[in-house]
């Protein structure tokens, strides 16, 4: 209560994932093949951009937090390069992280966030690799914060310490009111914009503090579930693929096929 309204102290959760556009399915082994390129989860980039926008408008600071191997530092640096202030890297090897279910991961994150009092925690709606959308709500529940998902934009009333949030849900648009502290899951960026790091930003990012904490595997407990290696479901039919030139011929072939299948 004694704390003056000096802006928003924000944390943004980001995930470094295999580039979603670099995944193919091996026709023989029927398993996924990764290009090796990594990317920051797109929804998380919206959360980072929103946090920086809010900082510019209301003041405060932005901390980027990720859980991942040493290479995941890249996801933090990208946030720092676009205007975030510092990073927290909960570092663990990929084979350790693969054993974790969403709740174990959420506990790691919540335990670290609990040591500071953030006004606002932001994350992307879900990750594009595993797409569970569970970690965000679970972090919020562990910290006993209300959460709002599918957020498209928001504004703060800094005197009342409340947020007015716009979200999309099942064909409806809602305006939500919630008091700080709170957690938000971002669906889109402001005007669909992502912030791209500049060269100057990248240089500055390297000088910003990143707190690296090695995850202690002995605290994680026994796995509560096990996943098989992913396999492709068997395909029932072969595809017809035609060249788009000349366009009229391709269109005719498609129209004939659609009529033959009684789809039009």
């Amino acid at each position: 209560m004694s704390e003056a309204s000096i802006g928003l102290k924000m944390a943004v959760l980001v995930k470094h994932i295999p580039d979603p556009n670099g995944i193919s399915v091996d026709p023989e082994a029927r398993g996924p093949v990764f290009s090796g390129t990594m990317a920051v989860n797109t929804y998380d980039t919206y959360a980072v951009a929103e946090a920086i926008e809010l900082k510019e408008r209301y003041g405060g600071d932005v901390t980027i937090l990720t859980v991942g191997p040493a290479s995941a530092r890249e996801a933090i640096l990208r946030g720092l390069a676009t205007g975030a202030d510092r990073g927290i890297h909960l570092q663990a090897e990929a084979d350790l992280l693969e054993r974790l279910d969403s709740l174990a991961l959420a506990r790691l994150i919540a335990d670290r966030l609990r040591t500071e009092s953030f006004d606002l925690i932001l994350a992307g709606q879900q990750s594009e690799d595993l797409e569970t959308g569970q970690v965000g709500p679970q972090v919020a529940a562990l910290l006993d914060l209300p959460h709002v998902s599918l957020v498209t934009s928001l504004e703060a009333d800094m005197d009342a310490r409340t947020l007015r949030i716009r979200r999309d849900s099942e064909g409806r648009k809602q305006v939500i009111g919630v008091a700080l502290p709170a957690m938000l899951l971002m669906l889109t960026g402001r005007d669909g914009e992502q912030r791209h790091p500049t060269l100057k930003g990248m240089i500055q990012a390297k000088r910003k503090p990143v707190d690296v904490v090695e995850v202690d595997a002995s605290t994680l407990g026994e796995p509560v579930m096990a996943w098989s290696d992913p396999v492709a479901p068997t395909r029932e039919r072969e595809a017809i693929i035609v060249e788009g030139k000349p366009a009229a011929k391709a269109a005719k072939a498609l129209a004939d096929w659609l009529r033959e299948k009684h789809l039009v």
Binding site: Q125, E131, T132, S169, L258, R259, L263
Partner: protein
């Protein structure tokens, strides 16, 4: 009354208080889990009135239904629903809990799982028998549904599951409805910190996306909002609804209510015509249940071709107008002009 553990199913109810069809699919999935664990299947319905509970109780597969009614349940918020379900389950011993894999279910279920330290699996598409290490296993799609993984649980860990729309058959009507028990939740157990201040409904014109038999959907390849006029023209000719990928909505070219994908609608039409959509995972997961997928894309390596029955590798700005001309000519011929 807790003579044996029960499998619970929290019904999918819309903001008008009506039971959604996904609830009937959940009854089928719930029955499979109940048989595997030797449990009863108990429905839980949160709503402003008792209509949805009556509808659920008339479905085959359930043993009984618990109905809690409160004005605070609609419109739905994740925090209110999570606190209500938590309060209901705390007095009971779940063998497993099924939630709808709808936008709402996927939002509040993880919060409930925290309270029970439960293993949680999103988007369950199948319940499968397993060896004797655990009573059942589940499957879910990953990486956009192009591959799937099978999940087993450590013993003594009742799993929390969200059920993927369109993956299970809808339960038929029961011979006679099962009993509905009205239960109450202490008002101070409800977490009402999130308040819905305004709701605006935005209905797209033409057939509703989730009910449409045909969908023409546009992606990043359309390069802007303007090219959607062309898709609407094609859609009108073949009686289709128009959809869009997440990339298009993220760019602000189209509104979210026509978005197909994991953060938009899950659709399963007879025909899904994907125009300029590369097939990013979050899109595929929302439309892979379509009976026939047709893809028009410049990039022959685009993942959308992996699930297409018919593909055209080419420039959509040439192919779509040619298709429109083709159907216009077909229409004219059909009318004997």
């Amino acid at each position: 009354m807790n003579d044996r553990a029960s499998v619970f199913l929290v019904a999918d109810v819309d903001d008008d208080g009506a039971l959604r069809p996904l609830s009937a699919e959940m009854a089928t999935a719930g029955r499979a889990v109940a048989e595997a664990t030797g449990s009863d299947l108990v429905g839980i319905v949160l709503s402003a009135d008792g209509r949805a509970a009556e509808t659920l109780a008339a479905l085959d597969g359930l043993d009984r239904v618990l109905a809690a009614t409160d004005e605070a349940f609609l419109p739905w918020t994740a925090t209110t629903w999570a606190s209500a379900v938590r309060a209901i389950l705390t007095e009971r011993e779940p063998a497993a809990v099924l939630f709808p894999g709808s936008i709402s279910g996927r939002d509040y279920a993880p919060r409930v799982a925290v309270r029970f330290n439960a293993p949680m699996v999103a988007d369950v598409s199948a319940v499968v028998p397993t060896d004797d290490r655990c009573e059942f296993a589940v499957r879910r799609p990953v990486y956009g549904g192009r591959v799937e993984t099978t999940i087993t649980f450590a013993s003594g860990m009742p799993p929390f599951l969200t059920v993927r729309p369109g993956a299970f058959q809808r339960a038929a009507a029961a011979e006679s409805p099962v009993p509905v028990e009205i239960i109450s939740i202490m008002p101070d157990a409800l977490d009402t910190r999130v308040q819905v201040l305004e709701v605006t409904e935005h209905r797209p014109s033409g057939p509703s996306l989730t009910e449409a038999r045909r969908i023409v959907s546009g992606g990043r390849g359309l390069q802007g909002a303007d090219a959607f006029a062309m898709l609407h023209e094609l859609a009108d000719l073949i009686g289709a609804a128009v959809g869009a990928s997440g990339a298009v909505v993220g760019q602000g070219w189209q509104s979210h209510d026509i978005q197909v994908g994991s953060t938009g609608h899950s659709v399963s039409p007879e025909l899904y015509l994907a125009v300029g959509i590369s097939g990013a995972p979050q899109h595929l997961v929302g439309m892979q249940g379509s009976e026939y997928v047709v893809a028009i894309n410049r990039d022959p390596a685009a993942p959308i071709f992996d699930i297409a029955s018919f593909g055209i590798v080419g420039d959509l700005f040439e192919v779509v107008p040619a298709l429109i001309a083709e159907f216009e000519a077909g229409d004219a011929a059909g009318k004997g002009i």
